[in-house]
Symmetry: C2
């Protein structure tokens, strides 16, 4: 496994590769969700590259950029065990040199959900992913359904800017009790960790109602809200039942829908989602 | 010479090419300036592609998108004569489908000069050039120094987003009397056309002052302004003496400088520039 720190090295290596290249961009502190993406990439491509870069431009000044969990040695050992071909681990200066001033902005779908709560977040995500795509030049890039809006934003960007690659989305990987894997789960207190499966349970409740014929999006939101509010440690940030492409809120579920929610469980804020239809 | 209308056709053709590909993006209504770029590309690359697309997103609602000069048959004949390998001539719907919502924005350097006068112009330019680069995947892309700020914006975008290509800038091509070639020169009245060399003469005056040792940018601006104002048909929009990279106005010319100006000559608005140092 080659570990590469500079863009020049990545380009030189890329030029030597023949055949398909799968790419898994990450912010490190890897978990089973990331490793599943690596396995998908290995199954579908001749080579697999992973990037580890905690992207400062997707954090607002109030957010946890400095304290975002990092463990480089552990990440590299995990990727080595998955037989990753190369790991791109650039410095902040390599990605954002002093004169840097270009941004990729996906409009409209970023006004909603996480975008409404975290202004500038998806501009940072789209910009860094655009750069990484241009540096790595993958055949396919892998993302987890866990960050549903991020997936939509990256698919929109790749399509709108005619990026010559395929965006592949893999299902959310969960702990045995249903909690979606996330690097930020490490912030949960023992009590918070115990309460955390309430997110997925509330989504399962929504799925059951829908499967039994409920088409009223408002009733789904009410049921999820009531379920979350019954958990004393949880504070609901939002629950959404939206069109999977435009992310516009639905009143009637007459097309494929994304049910998503964000919940504060003490300090950490957790997200989860399911697709209906 | 192959003429291609869709992105799918362009991709299919691109996959078959081996060796270097030069690319000249244009808005059509070609003149000797464009053809010079094609010749540069042919000299430096195995294949040469030209695009013709009048990009609606770089025109403001008040500008001349509808009336921008177009002559497809003449353009294709000129490109054929230059032995261009392929011409990409997409429809507006092909480039901007209904759901399109992603923009590439180069900040800071676009606040000045043309960017200050034409809000949104460079966002449209950067976005369409980014798309065309991703569709054509050139080895080298060719632009004219005539549109100096556009060149700076595209170089900045390509560097910031790590686009894997080389941006090549060719000197401005001029009529025998010094008028810089431009598709918009066709709008000039006979009297306007006769007065138009005043732009380049005023720039030559600035160059002479600088060559004789003048380092005061203000005095250069004054001299250019006075020269333009002595022409009754001309109305000066701006004259700038700026750092070539940041486009920040200089007070002392202590580094490479761009002297640029925009002048209304009746209805059409002409631009020109020279580099010092």
């Amino acid at each position: 496994m080659k570990v590469i720190k500079t863009i020049a090295e990545a380009r030189a290596l890329r030029r030597q590769l023949t055949g398909s290249l799968g790419f898994v961009p990450t912010m490190g502190y890897l978990h089973e969700g990331h490793l599943t993406l690596v396995r998908h990439s290995r199954a579908e491509n001749r080579h697999t590259a992973v990037s580890i870069f905690v992207n400062p431009t997707q954090f607002s000044p109030k957010e946890d950029y400095q304290s975002y969990p990092r463990d480089e040695a552990r990440d590299l050992a995990m990727l080595e065990a998955e037989r990753t071909d190369f790991v791109f681990m650039p410095s902040e200066e390599e990605i954002y040199p002093r004169a840097f001033s270009t941004w990729v902005e996906v409009t409209r779908i970023t006004d909603r959900l996480e975008g409404a709560v975290r202004p500038g977040h998806f501009r940072g995500v789209a910009t860094v992913v655009n750069k990484l795509f241009n540096i790595i030049e993958p055949t396919r890039a892998y993302f987890g359904q866990k960050d549903a809006q991020q997936v939509t934003v990256i698919q929109r960007m790749a399509a709108d800017l005619n990026m010559n690659l395929q965006v592949v989305v893999a299902p959310t990987v969960r702990e045995p009790d249903g909690l979606a894997m996330s690097s930020r789960n490490v912030y949960l207190t023992p009590a918070g960790r115990k309460a955390a499966p309430v997110l997925f349970r509330s989504l399962q409740l929504a799925r059951e109602m829908w499967a039994k014929g409920e088409k009223d999006a408002g009733r789904l939101r009410q049921a999820v809200t009531a379920h979350i509010e019954a958990e004393p440690l949880a504070r609901l940030d939002y629950v959404s039942v939206a069109d999977t492409e435009t992310l516009e809120e639905l009143s009637v579920i007459d097309r494929p829908a994304l049910v998503s929610l964000a919940v504060k469980l003490g300090k950490p804020r957790l997200m989860d989602n399911i697709l209906l239809g």
